[in-house]
Symmetry: C2
Amino acid sequence: MQSFREQVESRLADVLDRRLAGAQPRLADALRHATLDGGKRLRPALVFLGSLVGHPWPDSEDERLESLWSAAAAVELIHVYSLVHDDLPSMDDDDLRRGRPTLHRAFDEATAILAGDALQTLAFGELAASSADPAVRLDWIRRLAEAAGPLGMVGGQTIDLSLAGRTEDHPDLATLADLHDRKTGALIRTSLALGARWAGLPARETRLVEDFGRLLGRAFQIQDDILDVTGSAEALGKTPGKDAAADKCSYVTVAGLDGARRELDDTVRHAHAALWELATLGADPQALSACLEFVTQRQH
Amino acid sequence: MQSFREQVESRLADVLDRRLAGAQPRLADALRHATLDGGKRLRPALVFLGSLVGHPWPDSEDERLESLWSAAAAVELIHVYSLVHDDLPSMDDDDLRRGRPTLHRAFDEATAILAGDALQTLAFGELAASSADPAVRLDWIRRLAEAAGPLGMVGGQTIDLSLAGRTEDHPDLATLADLHDRKTGALIRTSLALGARWAGLPARETRLVEDFGRLLGRAFQIQDDILDVTGSAEALGKTPGKDAAADKCSYVTVAGLDGARRELDDTVRHAHAALWELATLGADPQALSACLEFVTQRQH
């Protein structure tokens, strides 16, 4: 049995093979370097989880599954493009990603910008050409454009960069939540929604899935920030005070460790409320509940 | 009577107003700076010209026109995004565009990258949300993704950058044509095709419109390169030899002035052949013919 991550990897390789026949070898290599790196593939998994809210787990023989794979590939292509551009020297200036040179390091800056641009284009092309119902495809494209656009991912990165210059005054909790809701939350939420729409979930239930997705993304980030402190405290003897002194902007540095834990509890409670409402409408929120459990209980 | 260019400007302003409510002011300002600059708006004009091949000039009261404006806005948003990214320091490193500071000069590099990213997203979102028939919208998105993607615009820019480093050996004519066909030709061709598809032109005729569009884009570029030499020769006393010495890669430096003129004649002849075939199929190529005439006869 191939694992889900391996399946995603092979689907992404297929998309690139199909779309890059005749492309400049250097550009094609860059796109493959960025995309086929054994990432966690969280967003494609959320597309499939979202589909389970309104639909039994699809039989692997189900021909309709093919179109769900298009959505799974598209959200990951958008995610990969955002990582490539975020790593650029004028943004976060990172040299390594997942232990390998970032794209502008392995190639050059211009190629990294162009490869990111191309990945975004491929994502929308993939959705438009999928075998899903035309109305579903258009809904997907609208949602993905909103999640990736100026009010979503790009907007979140803009806020992030604007805060990077301000080392003295930390943002308040609301600004921090807004940043993460846009920068990573929007695509997480939308990945779930694409799956839910594919499964024919009605508009009201889909909105609840999105509410849940927003809270799931937030819980993930808060837990990340908490683990960064508590994990380090055990492993390196590093204290929260040190982290704050380094002016790292996180839920812990903004709200304190206890404050961050309270924020996580609040977020999880709201997420459960959304799942409860989904259940009362007759949808099956079991997979989402397990996902939330996994995110908040993880220790690394 | 508002001129067409003013109408495009106001449509683009509408799209930005609609899509940027709630965005970071700095990001919104950057998107407006890049987009609302009084550009030539050639590509939106080609969308409308393409529609005329299969359809009488639409009555301005025609409600369907609204959806054609979405296509016109989308191709221009893609064009603007490509200019913003091409101007970046790691690409062409330009400080001025149309007499104003380029986006990374007026703002900063990170904002310019993000604004370009957002413009691409907006283009696909605009097409998906238009009021055109769902099948037409999906066809538009597929075509635009192909034109903008690794085999189109991004591919052309990749070839262009790869040639910039090679100052000794000029590319051959085929490589130069391939570069321009991808970098600017693909979007020109596709702008015509979006209009043609909107007007319900059958697939065979649409392919001829695309063939014509590819040749129109090429004619435009060759004429540009010829004027760059002959225009300058009169105005500045600059000679073709000087241009070649500066290692500017153009149809004239690669094929010589006579060679470029022969190439232009060939291109125009092939373009006329495509129009002739369109006419024999019962389509009306008059607007396209006038456009070709305009492109090849212009003196500046």
